[in-house]
Amino acid sequence: MTRTVESREDGKVVTDPPVVLTRTPGVATEPAPRRGARRRAAKEARAARKAARRAELNPTDSRATTIEVRIDPGDPLLTFLQDAPGPLEIKTLPPTSPAVARLREQGAQVVVPLITSGELVGVLALGPRLSERTYTRNDRRLLDSLTRYAAPALRLGQVMRQQENEVRDRERIEQELHVAQLVQQQFLPAELPELGGWHVAAFYRPARTVGGDFYDVIQLADGRVMVVTGDVTDKGIPAALVMASTTALLRSAAEVTSSPSEVLRRVNELLIPQIPMNMFVTCQVLVIELDTGRTLFANAGHNLPYISRAGQVVQLAARGMPLGLMPGSRYDDVETVIEPDDIVLLYSDGITEQHDRAGEMFGFGRTGEVVAGARSGDELVDRAIESLSAFSVGVEQEDDITLVTLHRGRSSGYHDTVSFAVPSIAGGERDVMDRVAAIVEGALPARRLEDLKTAVSETAMNAIEHGNRGDQNLDVEVVVRRTAESITVDVADFGRGRRSEADIPDIDLKLAGLQAPRGWGLFLVRELTDRVEEITDGDRHIVRLVMHTTEHEGNES
């Protein structure tokens, strides 16, 4: 504990005390002839006395000095003053106290402990009086009385200052965490890529603002896809920093080699010199050939992936030391084939090791049960989160949770792909809408098809009117892809991107005349589809609309 001698304003104590120790000059006794004149004269006399007193008490008085002494927490003075009865002569204080020696050096004569609720909250130190007289009994009584009021006020001020500091610190930490969260998000895929015939779904929820789990989907130069999931020991900022470093190393290694075991070996060697003691990273890498499902898998101590296959649940098995623990660690590539309709679940231990109120873990058994009943990757993610939430109701999330699902559709690749183009003629959007509806017929429930039709119509209208500016020489190109899990409609124009509607449409504002009646198009597209992406391809601007064909929470309408 460090205590500082405090005063009312600046944390310092002026040697000669204000008002309380100053003798009041005598009252003027001059007679006055009339009542009104008497009052005026008395007023003037009071003003003169006040001015004289102010001058006497002026802190700039050359004889006034400041006592400033820091009292160390272990100083015997603190214990002594804790039980002191009131104002004390400096000579009565413990001679072994370093603070007392410093008080003496600075001319202190009287010390008054400021105690409230039994706690010493400050010390008032006074030097010699400016009048050069000694402190009288009345002075001491007055000081004692003063400190009874001053001590609680000082304590209140200290508590308020402490709270202000705490609020400031909290705000700073929250701001820093927010920045860290934004930075960390840069290391997670902003959008999951559309993989021909495969559907990827992911869920990520850190236990704190930032976390140590990570996942990535990297498209390799040879057309294969690398899927990575991992988990840094620990949580919060330290884990997030290692996570950021590891994901960067993984991406870098993927540019050099497409062998999962070699990726892990390289990252391990690079990570060891920079990872803090007692931290390590579990990680697994899958490299998938999309057309055949042929998959290479290597593991560095991470939970083994589950596969839902024809009503059965199987696990991919591979061993290896976590990253960042031992130099020279070797990993094996395990080969397997992910069959059509297989659903693969990659997950962190945030799900399997979550406890319920009774202290039981969610475990691998429940995780496997969730996998067994899944019909699609999206559904698997939803079921896993619902099941975990129900299991751990009333219990805080203990660790970061990551789920990544890979669902191989019946037909790999975009075999069901239809392309067409329409000229940029006003009203052409209805033609686009009808043609897309005919192409995807049967793939969506009737109401979801109507949603897609409206979204396509709005997107095409935007492409015609804004992207191509109604130039009939420019076509709007449309590509429709059907996979087992989704319908994707690409609408391409030659503009620079959609004209973003400046305001979120608000009917209250529109009816009040505070917002233009128009501006609903983009809003409708976003509301009616499962996902909207914007892509730039050379001089073309593409808007991609995605609708999941399987019903799951969030896309029923």
Binding site: R430, R447, A516, P517, W520, L524
Partner: protein, 105 residues
Amino acid sequence: MSLTFATEERGGTIVVHLSGRIDRDATTAFEEVAASTSAATDIELVFDDVDYINSTGIAIIVGLLARARSRRASVHATGLTAHYVHIFEITRLSDFIEIVQPADA
């Protein structure tokens, strides 16, 4: 088919039968609808024969609604398909236009 309409008075309510598409091409027709209903305190829009409404159409309907509300007239809608009921809901038009008996509900 661009928009056409017909009005009738039914027990103090001006009933507007709409037919065709409500999009940019319906702007003029809706101006005429507004003129035809300018003295009404109760307006019913019948969507039985409307097969297409886009975002511009929504804006046109908002415009008609704003005029009606400025003179404290109420607006109802009948014959909307489930899809357009959904659109009225997500745009919150349904907060201001009472939807009566969706056609395929």
